[in-house]
């Protein structure tokens, strides 16, 4: 039987770059194909071609053995191709039903919307595929995992047979990822086919039937999951052997650099989002803050860096208290901050690379003399940093927005690390980055730690926390529920704490005697 979808020799070039180079892919009916590749490997372009957003320069697309020309997304939908985007295309003030019927509204008596019919169909779909969703819930009230289920229902409602999921796990908690995998399995059991795009090796191995690895616009390997291993995939993906394990010596902690006592912070809607948090970070150690996203980590970091108001409690850096200090004041006291949202906070996107590299120090000598910005010195410094931190950019004059995510992050790291710092606050420092960049940034953070910098690492990815931290704090509903040394860590225990189980009960449920081997793979 012909594969449900086959791509032959797809080639697409943009000025100056060959995004797809004679790509061959095929998806069998009822199977999951994982498309693995780093950012910029050409996954985006390929899927946009399949979804009719780009026209290929060369190549053919076959659906059920029949050659098709896909001119636009409606063509793709008509051919049974459905796409679930990484950033959901939902309208928050509408209900799940209303979102699903958007664009294909059924009409009753000529003018009335037939919502009931859609709701009924949603319930049918959700029972058939294990997609639990309340049709009448407003999107804004739904957790991220449920929003994703609405997106999948939207696609199924339009009778898609081939589902493309673009980095679907990037926004999910570990539990939600499990839920998604269950849904995917039930989809393929019902005869649907899935293309799963990701750069996370573990997920690929857990869910895919076959894996195609893309690098530099080419398919560098297609293998069955049973023949694949993390090391093999990583090597294919990056094109060289990758160190998946973060190498680090035991920490040699020094004095207290950051001390937080009973910190309370309110969020924008005046809810107490950080609730009496207390902890200390010592020089030369990494304190990891684990927790499901939205449990106050973001606001904790904002409060520490002066971006949010402190309601009560005390923060001191090197023994000196921080009282409603401005962000600049805090920066000048030797705090570096790798922000969670690099495009919103970390960079001025339209500005050239060189300006972004001096974004925190432009007003100090030698970059400013009197009222004059020293353009020459700024450019020289920037060129040095670009070299030193291996930022891939044609030159330092291009807008930083033209760089890939990994290189944008390197710009931030270069800027923050080039200042004399005592405390590094890294918030999701590898979010959305490829394996190569993750490896690089992790090793840089460990390097800083070894130089004696205190590091506060915040990340919802437990693997990252475990790989880098010397001590691990778990945050749940704004409270630090426990702090444990990393060498005695128990993943199951941490997972239970993150899910809100009290530390005593969690110990009973995951006793330390059954401690599993620490998985230091990211």
């Amino acid at each position: 039987m012909a594969p449900v979808l086959e791509l032959r020799g797809i080639t697409k070039s943009f000025p100056g770059v060959l995004a797809n180079d004679s790509i061959n892919l095929s998806v069998e009916k009822g199977k999951i194909l994982a498309l693995l590749g780093e950012n910029g490997a050409g996954k985006t372009t390929l899927m946009n071609i399949l979804y009719g957003l780009y026209k290929p320069d060369k190549g053919q697309i076959f659906i059920n053995g029949e050659e098709v020309a896909i001119q636009n997304p409606s063509d793709a939908i008509a051919r049974g191709i459905g796409m679930v985007h990484q950033h959901f295309m939902l309208i928050p003030v509408m209900t799940a039903t209303e979102n699903v019927m958007l664009g294909v509204e059924p009409i009753r008596y000529g003018i009335f919307l037939d919502k009931a019919k859609v709701a009924k169909r949603i319930l049918e779909i959700s029972t058939q595929y294990d997609l639990e969703v309340d049709p009448n819930a407003y999107i804004s009230d739904l957790p991220v995992g449920a929003q994703q289920r609405v997106e999948i229902i939207k696609v199924l409602y339009r009778q898609a047979d081939i589902l493309i999921l673009d980095e679907p796990t990037a926004v999910l908690t570990p539990q939600e990822v499990e839920g998604l995998f269950k849904v995917l399995r039930s989809l393929v059991a019902n005869g649907k086919s899935v293309i799963f795009i990701t750069h996370k090796l573990k997920e690929v191995l857990a869910i895919a039937d076959t894996i195609s690895v893309l690098r530099g616009g080419k398919v560098v390997g297609t293998l069955n999951t049973k023949d694949a291993s993390q090391e093999k995939l990583a090597t294919l993906m990056v094109g060289r052997e990758v160190n998946l394990v973060v190498k680090k010596k035991p920490a040699t902690p020094g004095g207290v650099v950051l001390s937080v006592k009973d910190l309370c912070v309110r969020d924008e809607s005046e809810n107490l989002i950080v609730d009496r948090a207390s902890f200390e970070v010592h020089a030369g150690e990494v304190l990891g803050v684990a927790g499901v996203q939205g449990n106050g980590q973001t606001e904790l970091v904002y409060a520490l860096t002066g971006l949010a108001h402190v309601l009560s409690g005390e923060i001191s850096i090197m023994g000196k208290p921080l009282h409603h200090s401005s962000p600049r004041n805090i920066l000048e006291r030797g705090v570096a901050h790798i922000p969670e949202d690099r495009q919103r906070h970390g960079l001025i996107l339209p500005f050239p690379v060189h300006d972004n590299l001096v974004l925190c120090t432009y007003y100090q000598p030698p970059f400013t003399k009197g009222l004059d910005l020293q353009q020459k010195i700024i450019i020289e410094t920037a060129e040095k940093l670009v070299d030193q931190f291996d930022v891939r950019t044609p030159n330092v004059f291009v807008p930083v927005s033209t760089l890939s995510g990994g290189n944008q992050q390197k710009v931030i790291v270069a800027r923050e690390f080039s200042r004399p710092i005592k405390l590094l606050i890294a918030s999701q420092p590898t979010r959305g980055l490829d394996v190569g960049s993750i490896e690089y940034i992790h090793s840089r953070i460990v390097e800083k730690r070894d130089e004696g910098t205190a590091v506060l690492l915040v990340s919802p990815e437990l693997d990252e926390i475990i790989a880098l931290s010397d001590r691990i704090a778990v945050m749940y509903k704004g409270q630090i529920v426990d702090i444990v040394p990393a060498e005695r860590v128990n993943k199951a225990y941490l997972g239970l704490l993150m899910a809100g189980v009290k530390s005593k009960e969690a110990l009973e449920m995951a006793p330390t005697t059954s401690m599993e081997e620490v998985d230091r793979v990211t």
Binding site: R344, L347, T393
Partner: protein, 425 residues
């Protein structure tokens, strides 16, 4: 990492050839920046020509007989358009031959009258351009900080009133009086701009709303001042004429009104450029404008920059009013500003908020305005046609996709040249 794009050798090569690469980059960037405004202008004139032809009785009449005499119809169309644009051009720049002959006359007879008459249209154009440069810069500075200052009109009016007051109420030697009058104008505008800036910074009130409201306050305030405290004796609501010592000196004798205001405007444009692009304060303003969250993260004070940018913006608009009063009008009357503040929004847009662009856009705007009078006189084409052309140009500049569509130009693809981007962004 030999397989990750771009390859490392290419990077270092680029760095070595940094200088020439940079020049090339600047060259094509300049071309890209100018392409849309220039085509917008061209398109505006073409549509303007159609409107001129359609509103001309002779042309319409000739088209009734188009099948019998198509040549006459085309000739009538051509003559209507060429007479209109010809007199527009003459009104804006004068005639090159006249200027040339008048110079000859001056050298042979020593009589400068003909020369002054010949350059009159051009000097008038530059005189008209002057307030547009300053007011355009005002709006551009706001744009650079991410603020839409619609209040240039009100700031212009307040600036004019302040400098007029200093001009007639104080008496001092020119080297004190004139700078003081200019400063008063800038200060008045600065105050009028700072208030919306403060409101925005401290309370989050949107500057579009507050500047519009400040405009109304300034209109009514000036009505009251011109009918009361600042009214000169007589029936009409006017201020007294300012002292000679407060007037900006003219380059030529009357009726050529071109004065030092033009030079001041050019100098200020350069100063604004230097300030925005070469000083740390300007760097901050631009950073706040491009990404306030990022600027705050980097330690910049958003409130301070909002207030500063609005104050500078207001000061520039106020200075525009001052220069107009001290250089051209010498008194202030009701309805004085006649839309300078609003036109300046268009000029800042057309100039892409860059000081050099603003100067060029203001030159264009002012010369068109100035030439339009002559067009109305000589060709009988209503002055409003210029407003149509200007309006079209702005629409095209604001919606560059239209121009790209008309001329089949591809969008600037700076994004795809070197590095592709990952999913989702």
């Amino acid at each position: 990492m030999e397989n990750v794009s771009p390859p490392k050798p290419a990077v270092s090569e680029n760095k070595q050839g940094g200088n020439s690469k940079e020049k090339k980059r600047n060259g094509s960037k300049l071309f890209q920046t100018l392409l849309v405004p220039v085509l917008a202008l061209l398109t505006g004139f073409i549509i303007g020509a159609i409107v001129i032809a359609l509103s001309n009785d002779a042309v319409i009449a000739s088209y009734r007989n188009i099948f019998r005499d198509p040549g006459a119809a085309l000739a009538a169309t051509w003559s209507a358009i060429s007479v209109a644009y010809g007199s527009l051009f003459y009104g804006s720049f004068g005639s090159v031959t006249e200027i040339f002959h008048s110079i000859q006359t001056y050298y042979s007879t020593g009589d400068s009258k003909a020369f002054l008459l010949a350059i009159y249209p051009f000097t008038e154009s530059l005189t008209t351009v002057t307030p547009y440069i300053l007011a355009g810069l005002a709006v551009a500075v706001g744009f650079k900080c991410g603020l839409f200052n619609i209040g240039a009109e009100g700031q212009f009016g307040i600036g004019a009133l302040c400098s007029a007051y200093v001009g007639y109420a104080m008496h001092a030697p020119w080297y004190i009086h004139l700078p003081l009058a200019l400063l008063a104008g800038a200060a008045g505008g600065a105050l009028w701009g700072a208030i919306p800036g403060l409101l925005k910074g401290l309370t989050g009130a949107h500057e579009v709303v507050t500047t519009i409201m400040m405009n109304y306050v300034s209109f009514r305030l000036s009505d009251w001042l011109l009918n009361g405290p600042m009214k000169a004796s007589g029936f009409r609501p006017l201020t007294p004429v300012i002292d000679n010592s407060a007037m900006l000196p003219q380059f030529f004798p009357d009726p050529l009104r071109l004065n030092w205001g033009f030079i001041i405007a050019l100098a200020i444009a350069f100063l604004v450029y230097w300030f925005l692009f070469k000083t740390p304060i300007g760097f901050e303003i631009r950073a706040v404008g491009a990404n306030p969250d990022g600027a705050r993260y980097a330690g910049m004070n958003i409130v301070k920059n909002f207030v500063l940018a609005m104050t500078i913006s207001g000061a520039l608009a106020g200075l525009a009013g001052a220069v107009q009063v001290l250089g051209v009008d010498h008194w202030v009357g009701q309805g004085f500003s006649s839309g300078y503040g609003f036109d300046s929004i268009a000029i800042a847009l057309l100039g892409q908020s860059h000081p050099l662009g603003v100067v060029l856009a203001a030159l264009l705007w002012g010369t068109l305005r100035s030439g339009a009078t002559n067009m109305q006189l000589n060709a009988g084409v209503p002055i409003e046609i210029i407003s149509i052309i200007q309006g079209l140009v702005i629409v095209f500049v604001a919606a560059p996709a239209v121009i790209r569509w008309i001329y089949r130009i591809r969008a600037i693809s700076t994004q795809t040249t070197v590095l592709t981007r990952g999913w989702g962004k």
